[in-house]
Structure formats: C-alpha cells, structure tokens
Symmetry: C2
Subunit: 336 residues, 2 copies
DNA sequence: TTGAAAGCGCTAACAC
DNA sequence: GTGTTAGCGCTTTCAA
C-alpha cells in the first residue's frame, strides 16, 4: 500500500554529495558552496524529496509542533481562540495539532504521552482533569500553559479572562438599567463559574442589593439547562426577577427562548446578559447583550508564553487575566 | 527545561536484561519467560518508563494514529462526526489528531506531509483544496478517505450524505404543506450545494412547479448571508415566496430572524427548512424543521473504510451515501 | 528464551 | 566546504 519513500540518502546519491551536505542545505546552513546548494536543491526537486519528520524529530531537540489539548470540540469560542494560537505559532514556524480527550482521563494521559515523548514541544490546555499535584509535576518537566480554564497555585502559567470583573461589570450594568431583582444562571463546578458568581455578588453588594439564594440556578453550560432553569426562575419566584445574568451565551439563548415561550418579552419583561460573545449571541432573537471574551488575544498570548517556556526563558508573568468587554445588544434596555 | 527521559536502555539495565527483551515485554511477545516478564514489568513501573513513540514509529510500519484534516474548526457538525470517527478508531486502538488548514493551501500541503512522513497512518479529509489530479495521486500512495465534502472520479473513497435526495425530500415536504412559491438559499460553489440544488429542482419538477431563477440566492453558509439574502428574497419579489429551503441551518436561522425583523411571522408567513440539524436549529426561534445528517454514522463509516485501506484491503465500496432524515419542528406548518 | 546488532531517517560533532 | 560517523529510541532479525 504505502509507497517507497525517498530518503536523504537517495538525494545525496543523486546529487553526488554526502547526506550531511543535503542536511545542511535542508537546514539552510551557511557553510555550503552555492554550486553545491543548487545541485542538491535540483536533486530534491527532481526526486520530490520530503524530509521524514520522525527521523528529524528523533534526532533534534525540538519538533516545532505544539498540541492544543481540549476536553471537547464542542466549544463555541474554539475557532477564534485557535486562530490566535495558530497565528502566533506561525511566527515561530511552529505548527499545531488539536487533540480531544472527550472527557476521558485515560485519553488525556495518553495524549500527554505525546508531550513526554517529544512528539510535541509543548501543550496548551483548555481545561484538564489533572490534579493540582499532577499539573505541578508536569509543569516542572515540560512546557505547558493553561488557557481559559486554569488551576492556580501549581506554578503553571495561565491566560484567561478576568471572570470576576467581567461578571461584576455585567451585573453592574443591569443595576444601572434599573434592575434590582437580578437572577443568575451559573454552574456549580469549576473555577470560572465560581469567579463569575463572586463578581455577581460584589456587584449586588456595591449596589446595596441583598443577596437572594432563590435567584441563583445551576446548569451545565448547555442550552437545555438554560431553558429549564429560566422556567424555574420565572415560575418559582413569587417576586420574579426582571433580569438574568447567564455565565455563557449558550444558556443565555435558552433563557431568552424559554422566557418568550412563557409569554414574557425580552428585554421588556426580562433583561438578559450573557458571557463569551459567540455567534450564538448574535444569532439569538433578540441578539444578546453579553460580555465579550478577547478570544483571539487569549489564544495568542497563551502561545507567546508557551514559546518562552519552550525556549527555556521563564515568562515574566505566570498569570495573565485579560478584561472582558460589555457588548450591548437588544436583550437589555433601560427599565421603565 | 526538558526532563531527562527514561529510555528502554534504562529499563533493560535496571532489570538486568537486554533491550530486546524489554521490547518483547512491551509488545506482549509470547516468547518471554514469565519470571523475566515480571522482572521487566517491575522495572518499568519503578522507573515510570514510557516508550518513546518517535523511536517506535520510526522503526515500525505503523503509528496507530490517523489525522482528521479540515479547513476550519468552525464546523457545527464537527463534534458529532468526530465522535463517530473517534469511537471507531478506538476499536482498532488508533488515536486521532485534528489539524486545521485554515483554508491555506500551503498549510494543507504541510499537513499532508505528516501522512507522507509516516507521522500518521491515514487521513480523513473534510474538504480539501487538492485538485482531482493531486487527490488521485495521493490516494494511490496513501490511505485517505473523504468525509462529507468529496470529489468524485478520483478513486478516493468518500462517505457523505445523499444531498440530492435530502434536498428533494425537504422541498417535497414543503410542497405537501401547500407551498408553490418555494425559494432556496444555496451556495454557488462546491459539490454539496450543487447536488442540493439539483434535488430542489427535481422536487419542483415532480410537483409541476415551474423554476423561477429569482427565487434562488447564493450565500456562503454564514449567518449574515442568510439574513441578507432573505431580505432580498422578501423585498425584491413582487410575488414573494411563502417558503424557503436553506442548504444549512446557520443560514436558515439568519433567514428566520430576518423574516421576523421584516414583520413576517415564521412559519405562518414564511416556512423555513434547513439542513444539517445542528444545535443552531434547535436554538432558533422558532426551532427549525431541518434535514438531519447522520453525523455520527458518517464519521464512523469514514473511519471503518480508512482502516480497511490502512490494512491493505480495498474497501468493498468506494462511495457511501447515507440518507438525510426530515426532522419536523416549528418553522413549518400546513399552509392555510 | 534471550542477547547482540543492524538499521529506521535524520542531525551535528569532528575531521579533513 | 564537505565527508565520515555516532547516535536519537525503538523493533526485529539472527544466532546462541
């Protein structure tokens, strides 16, 4: 099945030089006579030679490749974050491969193998099932950077959005519009959700609004949970909320649709603010007010830090938090 | 930076055997005395040895890895198709890496390098910029299967949905609901769009409805184009359409939102049928009637065929077309 | 049942 | 400037 592949030996023979010279030409070494270079390049072209990466990587100390490790491909911001990573990587002549763990711890270990086996020079993780202990260990031995989802106190660098400030800004905005009964659709696991909840709490506190546990619901980031929890919020509460802050756009769309289906209009009866600013927010009816994550920048920055680590320089800072930006659309309006 | 890695040599030394024996244990060779095997395994555990894949792959004829090659990560069906591929791959103890060309021909060549360099055993493509000639050549030398987007007459196997039949069923359904002025939002490039347009034409013909070029608009699969083209359809036509068939859900959501913003209600004033059955269709207001692609099966089948090729067996069939299934939701209703 | 040794394709230290 | 050669970590003959 597989074709006999042209090797560096074949090129050397064809060009009448040694393999070392061919290797020098391939790696743009300056100490090659112009005539020789041309001769070798001619042979390369004629034989359609392409270097075997396995051989090269085995010998070299670097593969010029990094891995993006994620738990699921179902990740609305992936495309843009990836673009940031990819464009930064390209500047260093690095290429990227994407691997999904599908949430399996086993699979994740297998993929981290690729790092330990020098199959890639470094890894950017988007959420991991590693324990703090494991992550600390891994970070000591290999270049690794966390993006978006992160664990602190492990010494592992991370690049994320300022979740607390973002949530606080979102809720403060709702307060400014005149809302006092502000609900939240959150998640009861993960650092991201926790920080956003803290931001929510802070904003309420600053506005002198007392905290009401009935107004907080916990979902799983899915559309369905947004729908279900909004129904609960609107049906359970004797004094129903006039606004909802959702910790992602997916649930916020569910919230908007559920509210309308119950006969409430958005934003007049219920104002909604999401988080992320994905296409979903734009495609929603009405388009959602949301906190925009600097997706491209997050990816770009993660790659920059990873390159520093790969090159053996400790990055100046181990923790980067970029600000989220309020994007006002039609799911919010000044309260009458 | 990088940790000194434990090699097979270290294990051999520690266990007091040769590297050959360690290799045999690693590969479950039967000709190893039980005592020796235990001794080696003990050493492996103690040293936390993990085989270097680069060395192994260089020596072996296979990597037990395949690549999924796509032009963009922004692919609403990716998650489910991938699941199909991944679960099939797992059965063969294969792992998968995903690589995006970002639409760059250059990048694509670079990635196909990984195949030619035995970095992966095979490739599943989701759309490629290769010419028919190049694809034919590649398919002759390496295991490769096309999924969803494909080129015929190259000898390269493909697994896709029956686009013509799917489109025909969608439009026939609209006809049955009583519609005669049925528009289409399509795309003016790519085989997929072409086949769906043919299906549309066939359905009209079967219903004795004459073809009206004004009712066909060409977008680029994006939400924005769905919005824009729907406006055109509703504003330009003196006799406006009562139904629209969109060749993907993304544009169909744009269609629904644009129609409502112009004061038309969906489905009463304008019925809409999408294609794909992604989350977008479910999250739309109203939820969209659409043609469901058998996403998981498409991925699974592609991987099965690829494995056959990797194992040197010519697949029984080079072309698999799975049926799309009509899913009726609230963007269509019997016409009054 | 085990070990010695060749060799996968490449790079780089060293010699000329 | 160029060639010779060792060796990256592994698998797999071949011989013992």
């Amino acid at each position: 099945m597989r074709k006999k592949v042209v090797t560096i030996q074949d090129v050397a023979q064809s060009a009448g030089v040694s393999v070392a010279t061919v290797s020098r030409v391939l790696n743009n070494s300056p100490r090659v006579k112009e005539r020789t270079r041309v001769k070798v390049q001619e042979a390369i072209r004629q034989l359609k030679y392409q270097p075997n990466l396995l051989g090269r990587d085995l010998r070299r100390d670097r593969t010029k490749r990094i891995m993006i490790l994620l738990s699921s491909l179902d990740y609305p911001m992936l495309k843009e974050v990836y673009k940031g990573v990819e464009e930064s990587a390209r500047n260093y002549e690095y290429s990227t491969i994407i691997c999904s763990t599908s949430g399996s711890k086993n699979k994740e270990e297998q993929l981290l193998q690729l790092l330990k086996n020098r199959f890639v020079d470094g890894v950017i993780t988007f959420g991991t099932t590693l324990t703090a202990q494991e992550l600390r260990q891994l970070n000591r031995d290999y270049p690794i950077v966390q993006c978006l989802e992160w664990m602190g106190n492990t010494g592992t660098p991370y690049v994320s959005v300022d979740n607390e400030k973002g949530a606080r800004d979102a809720v403060t905005y709702l307060v400014k519009l005149g809302h006092r009964r502000i609900a939240m659709i959150s998640r009861n696991e993960g650092q991201t959700a926790l920080l956003r909840e803290q931001g929510y709490g802070l904003a309420l506190q600053e506005a002198g609004i007392s905290y009401d546990a009935n107004l907080i619901k916990y979902g799983d980031f899915s559309y369905e949970s947004g729908v279900r929890l909004t129904k609960e919020l609107l049906e359970e509460n004797t004094s129903r909320p006039t606004a909802v802050f959702c910790i992602n756009d997916t649930m916020a769309v569910g919230c908007a649709n559920a509210a309308r289906n119950l006969g409430y209009s958005v934003p007049e009866d219920l104002a909604i603010v999401g988080f992320d600013d994905t296409m979903e927010a734009l495609m929603s009816a009405p388009p959602l007010t949301t906190m925009r994550q600097p997706k491209y920048e997050l990816g770009h920055m993660a790659m920059e830090i990873l390159m520093r680590k790969i090159n053996g320089k400790e990055p100046e800072t181990n923790a980067v938090l970029l600000p989220a930006q309020l994007v006002i659309r039609n799911s919010t309006v000044v309260k009458r």
